[in-house]
Amino acid sequence: MREKVIEIKGLTKSFGDLHVLKGVDLNLYKGENLVVLGKSGTGKSVLIKIVVGLLTQDEGSLKVFGQEVNSLPSKELDKLRLKIGFSFQHSALYDSMTVRENLEFPLVRNVKTITESEKEKKIHRVLESVGLSQAIDQMPSELSGGQKKRIGIARTLILEPEIMLYDEPTAGLDPITCGDINDLINQVRDEYKTSSIVITHDLTCAKVTGDRQAVLLDGKFGAVGEFEEVFHYTSDDRIKAFYDYNFIN
């Protein structure tokens, strides 16, 4: 039996009168890439923000490595967060810092005993992983959209997380750069042995990166399974429409 790293049961979340998540059940297993698909505004990003404790659920249970995230005291939550890497939709690089300083930021604050040479080694390793060693002294404003995404991923990798959460990793990028980012997501899983949740509405990204797909429809998962299973053998018109729109348009 595969080990569950994230276990979600009956999760609900509302913003005022808007009910975004209406009883979500989902498991993420060790070593897999799980893609969460859905239209904009269906609560995909809300889901992973609850996983990392940026938002709290209204009801339901969310366990990461067996720990109920919602009930963790802040110090324990911070410890848990070190095991989770979060790649933001717009990269969220600190724009007043260079790439090196962006990468150092989580490292020096969380690994107190690190020496200067270890720090350099880690920075160079993650930059090599994302293929951007030459950008070390550049400012985020000097990078392209794809490069920013890569540096954003590098910044999360520097703490060697066990879980990666990608929020719309290919949004706003050209098809070639999307392909590079998709390859990077798979490379990260293999190189860093991570389990990942990839939030996207891009079916190509889902197909290339996902071991399993979960389609969020009206606040619940309409289908969960492998790509073929979810999209080719579905009887749900909403999922068919989603597939057709992505591949026909």
Partner: protein
């Protein structure tokens, strides 16, 4: 019917209710600052960087303003004193006016415009672009890194800037006095310091420390609690300046009452 239900949601009126909600929120924010400021880890490097940003980078504007205030105030005061044949009192009058009121007030208002708006806009844009969330998920306390450091830097640097402005304004005043009354530098500054008391200097420093804290906390609060995307960035910058200036005037008035109480009792 629906309108009636909506009206019932407010205790007094929408605006007045919101004012008290904001007030409570600012006090909570300040309380959090006073709790977090003592707790490790301490971001010394960031405090130094912010001190440089707030202090050193404000010097050109502050210098020019202080110098001009000194010259203009001296020039405007001379005719009144000349009528009574009391131009020799100019250094004393100017020193009291600058150290007691104009130096702290002018510096604080300029800093509210320059520093307060930049803090509000910077933190707000970091919020919009999810940089604050990024700090949080990397197990770094963004409040400590962004708010505590900036408020400390403002609280430390504004009194230093006020002392600097006092000096520059007095220098401007001296040039004007020297040009018209041929007073020497030594005589001018002897008269300046003879007119000042310990209470004047002490109250000026305390007052400017409070002004600095106000500028920092208001800028951070407005930035940290901003919303509505990029529109919120502009609003946060604007609200930081307006609110800080408003509070500075109120504090000036209160400080005057307190100092006068000690001066005349």
């Amino acid at each position: 019917m629906a309108e009636k239900t909506a009206e019932k949601k407010y205790i007094i009126s929408k605006k007045i209710d919101q004012f008290f909600i904001d007030l409570a929120s600012i006090f909570r924010f300040m309380k959090r600052f006073f709790v977090e400021v003592w707790l490790p880890p301490y971001e010394f490097r960031e405090v130094i960087r912010q001190c440089y940003q707030i202090g050193v980078k404000s010097l050109p504007l502050i210098s020019l303003t202080g110098f001009i205030v000194g010259i203009v105030f001296t020039n405007q005061s001379r005719p009144s004193l000349t009528e009574f044949g009391a131009t020799s009192w100019l250094p004393a009058l100017i020193s009291i006016a600058i150290v007691r009121a104009m130096g702290p007030l002018v510096t604080a208002l300029i800093a509210a415009g320059k520093v307060g708006s930049s803090i509000g806009a910077e933190i707000s844009s970091m919020k919009v672009t999810e940089q604050i969330d990024a700090m949080e998920v990397s197990a770094t306390n963004p409040f400590k890194f962004l708010v505590v450091t900036r408020v400390i830097a403002c609280t430390v640097m504004i009194p230093l800037l006020v002392m600097y402005v006092d000096f520059v304004a007095l220098l401007g005043a001296f040039l004007n006095v020297h040009q018209n009354e041929l007073t020497s530098l030594t005589t001018f500054f002897v008269e300046v310091f003879e007119a000042l008391t310990f209470l004047d200097i002490f109250s000026s420093i305390i007052k400017s420390t409070v002004f600095g804290f106000t500028i920092g906390i208001v800028g951070c609060y407005k930035g940290y609690t901003s919303s509505k995307g990029t529109e919120g960035v502009g609003k946060a910058a604007n609200a930081s300046v307006v609110m800080a200036m408003f509070l500075i005037f109120i504090e000036e008035l209160l400080a005057l009452q307190i100092v006068n109480f000690f001066r005349f009792n």
